[in-house]
Each structure stands twice: as structure tokens, then as C-alpha cells.
């Protein structure tokens, strides 16, 4: 890989030890992936902000101790916990200092404390075509696909290196030629009523991710009335079941106004049909739990938007969460403040819904709660729930989650795509 004189000076340590370490890692990865040169990025989203293991803390603290500073606007993924109401979340006081130290290390490097996995909802948002370096699999897929910004699937640890140097190796999805669709996924046999059930989007995403694997796919047949939050759920699911950095939705996403456009005039290397039966199968595969003993309903994976809060408040109107279950919603600090201002938060609080900020439901302090089984409207959460929390998980629409929360008994409507 060709390095400029300035980049070579960084590698030689002329800009300090932190920049040397960051540049060494970036240059190695550039060599490994055949990049010809480095390129500037305008912003970075750091994924590695959830304290889970000591390696991440050691790495961030070392960089901070060496005096590292981010060189471009940099947003932060969630902490594992609610950094403000951590006592309400029953975070064990013995472990809290490690969460706090990790947060402080990134703030010392002058990143912006957004603490959200949905950075595209508020804060440092890229425009179409902007070259960025984002971590967090759902955010990467959303930024590339829905916004048309350009980022690779940046990993924890590489993300902070990119922020310190302000550059990344030029390869992968930064280059137009690698954004061309290879696989065409066609929806067959879906009716318009199926798309009125919001649960279809996270399920479709989960299935599309499995089919696409690590290839750029294009999906045809999704109606153009799809909402921002539908897309959020779709891409969170897709990026959890596949290595999906970019997936075009024909007629919806900006680089796929037509099929020709996202295949750059070429033909698909492979075409796969997706049917409602396949959605029903993948929905069944996502249920890891027995449905009888659900006592934790959680939503906001990815973090809740104002529109989602509004819809939840409408569904909970005049109802109360049953005393036998906990209903938790996760969101960012900024959306939380808006919902506080709008009165929606007070309404949800009266209905018995708990709203946390900054954190990740997959990292809740499980030893303090002893929940038995989870229910969610997120296929990303359902996919990772067992491995991260040890709890079985059931997937359902938000209406199903609300009905279960209110009655205290597992409730699922018949999906329009269910087999007869």
C-alpha cells in the first residue's frame, strides 16, 4: 500500500505513540485487504463502548493514557448499561467502575457521548456518498444501504484507530465497484396485507441476511411505503444473520432506484426467491424459548426512535403492564429528552413501562433480575438473546409484546404468513 510522507511520519511515531499504534493497525489491514492507499473519512462511529471483556477496556485505556484524541467527529455506541440510572437497572456496584472507566476513556479521547446504536437517528449523520468509518453492524448496514454513505463493516478496535488517524485504507464498500449487487432476492407470493404487519420487516431482514451472507444483495418486492423504523428493523436483522454491509432495496434505497442501477447495468450472478413460507420457517427458528413463562419484554434493539415511542404510547393507552412482567425500552439520551418534553415518557411511566438510556438490552445485569424468558419485536435481539443473556427468547410484533405485557400471558396473533 502506498503511504504518503505524512502517513509514514505517523508510522514512525512523529505524532505520538497512540497515532503510531493506530496507523500500524490500519496500515496492516490495508495491506491485508489489498488497499492501494489510505483515504480520509469525515466521521467515525465507535462500536467498542460496551464493557463486556477486559481486552476492550485495556485497549481503550491504553490509547487514552497515551494521549490519543479523535481527529474527526466521532459518535459512540451504547454502553452496556444505563450510565445515569444504573442503580435503577440494578447494575452491581462492584462492576460499575469498569463500565464507567470504558466510557471515560472514550470521552477523554474527545468522542461525543451519543451512547446509541442508532446513530443515524440523531447526532453526527452522514449524507449520501459521504466516506465514513462506522462500527456497529446495524448502523453500518443502515448507513450504506438507506443513506448511501460509504463505510466498510468496521470492527471494534479498528474504529477508534480510524478516528485517531482520520483515515482508513481505501478498499471494500468505499469503492463504487464493490457496491454493485451480485445476488437478486425476489419476494414471491406476498400480499399487501402482510406488509401491514410491521413484524415482517425484521423477519425479512433476518432471512435476507442468511441468504446474502457476505455478498451485496438487492431485494425486489418491498413496497415503497416502508417506514424509517421498518428499515431499521430490517437491517438490524440482516446484519445479525449475515455479513451484510450493504443491501439494496429496489425502488427504496438511493443506489437502487431501479434494478439496473444497483446491478450497474449487469445481471445477477444468482437469483433467489423468498416466499411467505420461508418467513414462517425463519420465524419459527428464531423462537428459542418455551412461550409459557415470559417475564421480560424488551424493545429498542436498535434504540427506539420518537416515532416508535409514539406508537408504543398509542398501543399502551389506557392499559397497564402486568405486575408479573417487566417491560423495558432502550433509547438514546437525546430521544429520551425529547420524549420527556413531549409527555410521552410520563404516559409510558404511568403505564408501567421502564425506559432506559445509553445501554444495550443484550448486556443487562442478568444476575440482578433472574428473568426466565424474554420477548421482543427485534430479530437481532432474538438472534443473540440466548448467547448473550442465557435466556430463551420469543419474537412477536409490538402488538403481541404489548398484549403479553398487559395480560402477563404469552400472546401472539396469527401471522398473515403463517402456514395453514
Amino acid at each position: 500500500m502506498h503511504l504518503t510522507d505524512e502517513e509514514k511520519l505517523i508510522l514512525d511515531g512523529n505524532k505520538g505513540e497512540a497515532a503510531r499504534l493506530a496507523m500500524s493497525i490500519l496500515a496492516d489491514l490495508g495491506e491485508l485487504f489489498g488497499a492501494e492507499s489510505m483515504m480520509p473519512v469525515s466521521q467515525v462511529h465507535i462500536d467498542a463502548t460496551l464493557y463486556m471483556v477486559d481486552a476492550g477496556l485495556e485497549f481503550a485505556e491504553k490509547l487514552a493514557r497515551l494521549g490519543a484524541r479523535v481527529n474527526v467527529p466521532t459518535s459512540l455506541n451504547p454502553s452496556a448499561i444505563d450510565l445515569v440510572r444504573w442503580k435503577d437497572m440494578k447494575v452491581p456496584p462492584a462492576i460499575f467502575p469498569k463500565h464507567q472507566r470504558l466510557a471515560e476513556a472514550y470521552l477523554k479521547m474527545q468522542a461525543t457521548p451519543t451512547w446509541t446504536c442508532a446513530p443515524y437517528q440523531q447526532g453526527i449523520i452522514p449524507r449520501f456518498g459521504e466516506q465514513i468509518a462506522w462500527g456497529e453492524s446495524n448502523a453500518i448496514a443502515f448507513a450504506n444501504s438507506v443513506i448511501g454513505a460509504r463505510t466498510n463493516r468496521y470492527a471494534d478496535l479498528m474504529d477508534i484507530c480510524a478516528a485517531i488517524v482520520g483515515k482508513v485504507p481505501k478498499f471494500g464498500l468505499h469503492l463504487t465497484r464493490n457496491r454493485v449487487a451480485k445476488v437478486l432476492i425476489e419476494l414471491e407470493g406476498f400480499t399487501s396485507s402482510m406488509f401491514q404487519n410491521d413484524a415482517i420487516y425484521p423477519l425479512l431482514g433476518y432471512l435476507v441476511g442468511e441468504i446474502a451472507g457476505d455478498q451485496v444483495a438487492a431485494v425486489s418486492g418491498i413496497p415503497s411505503l416502508v417506514t424509517f423504523d421498518n428499515l431499521k428493523g430490517f437491517f438490524a436483522g440482516a446484519a445479525s444473520s449475515g455479513a451484510v454491509g450493504l443491501c439494496h432495496l429496489i425502488g427504496i434505497t438511493p443506489e437502487a432506484q431501479t434494478q439496473e442501477m444497483c446491478f450497474h447495468g449487469g445481471r445477477p450472478k444468482k437469483t433467489v426467491q423468498v416466499t411467505p413460507e420461508m418467513i414462517a420457517d425463519s420465524e419459527r427458528g428464531l423462537q428459542t424459548g418455551k412461550s409459557g413463562n415470559i417475564d421480560w419484554i424488551t424493545t429498542g434493539c436498535p434504540h427506539y426512535s420518537p416515532a416508535e415511542f409514539m406508537r408504543l404510547a398509542q398501543l399502551m393507552n389506557g392499559k397497564k403492564v402486568n405486575s408479573s412482567v417487566a417491560f423495558w425500552v432502550y433509547t438514546s439520551r437525546s430521544v429520551y429528552a425529547w420524549m420527556q418534553g413531549s409527555g410521552i415518557l410520563g404516559q409510558l411511566d404511568d403505564a408501567g413501562v421502564t425506559v432506559f438510556t445509553d445501554g444495550c438490552p443484550l448486556q443487562y445485569p442478568r444476575e440482578s433480575w433472574n428473568f426466565r424468558a424474554a420477548m421482543t419485536d427485534s430479530t437481532k435481539f432474538a438472534n443473540y438473546c440466548y448467547s448473550q443473556t442465557g435466556l430463551p427468547a420469543a419474537f412477536g410484533s409490538l402488538e403481541d409484546c404489548v398484549d403479553t405485557a398487559v395480560s402477563g400471558k404469552f400472546h401472539r396473533r396469527r401471522s398473515p404468513w403463517a402456514k395453514s
Binding site: 462500536d47 453500518i140 463493516r153 471494534d156 457476505d214
Partner: protein, 140 residues
């Protein structure tokens, strides 16, 4: 002398060990327990198998961008695979080994094989990896 398979170097280094092979992709976060090195995704065909010290063969990565951090932690606690064999390697997978080289001074070499060679790798076989020079020797 066993069977020699030619591959491409992704992360340089040499290693040897018993193969743990799957045709399923793996997300290290949400797929491997960072304390024990065991596969903890109940939907994965290798559920409960340990990757520690193994030549871990799977076609490509998937899922979370925290996979790199889990690999770094596995290196820190001595539960990392001795080497990784893929058909295609994405940056999330390569970042863990690259950082662990600089941060803990330990190598986890990664090599890619084409699909025809990849399917020859079977769980339980012994393999010697030379990612730097781009080959694998499979013991009979």
C-alpha cells in the same frame, strides 16, 4: 508428509492444531463465549464445541462488529483458536488478530482456501498452517 493445500495469506503467521470445521458462518460476538472459547449460539452446528487452540475453519464471518474484540479477549485469556481458515475473510475477522499482534504480541494467523479445498478440512484432523507462505498441510 500429508496433503498440501495452497491458500492465500490474510494474516501472516504459522500454527498447528486439530481442525474444528463448519460450513456455517460464525459471529464471534453472539457466537463464541469470550471466557471459555465455546460456541454459544444454540443455532450453530458446533454449539458447545471449544475453539481454544483449534484450527478453526468456517467459510466466512457474519454479524456483530464486536467480533474483533471477542477474538482479542480470547487471545488475552488463552482461549483463542490457533489459526483461522476461511473461504473469504472480512475486516471484522482480521482486526482481532492484527490488534492482538500489536497489543499482546500474539499471532492468530488467518488463511483462505478456495471452496474446493476448504471442504477437505474435517473436524478432528491435524493441520499445520503456514499463512505467511500460503499453505496448509493436512495430516492423514
Amino acid at each position: 508428509m500429508g496433503k498440501k493445500l495452497k491458500g492465500c495469506c490474510v494474516v501472516p503467521g504459522t500454527a498447528s492444531g486439530e481442525i474444528l470445521a463448519s460450513t456455517h458462518s460464525i459471529s464471534f460476538w453472539g457466537g463464541v463465549d469470550p471466557r471459555t472459547g465455546r460456541i454459544n449460539d444454540p443455532r450453530h452446528e458446533l454449539f458447545r464445541a471449544s475453539v481454544a487452540g483449534k484450527v478453526l475453519a468456517f467459510p466466512f464471518g457474519k454479524g456483530s462488529s464486536t467480533g474483533s474484540l471477542i477474538i482479542l479477549e480470547l487471545v488475552r485469556v488463552g482461549k483463542a483458536p490457533s489459526a483461522i481458515v476461511n473461504v473469504r475473510t472480512e475486516p471484522i475477522l482480521a482486526t482481532g488478530p492484527v490488534v492482538s499482534k500489536y497489543f499482546y504480541g500474539k499471532d492468530v494467523p488467518i488463511i483462505t482456501l478456495d471452496e474446493n479445498a476448504f471442504v477437505l478440512l474435517k473436524t478432528g484432523q491435524f493441520a499445520t498452517i503456514n499463512a505467511t507462505e500460503g499453505y496448509i498441510i493436512l495430516e492423514n
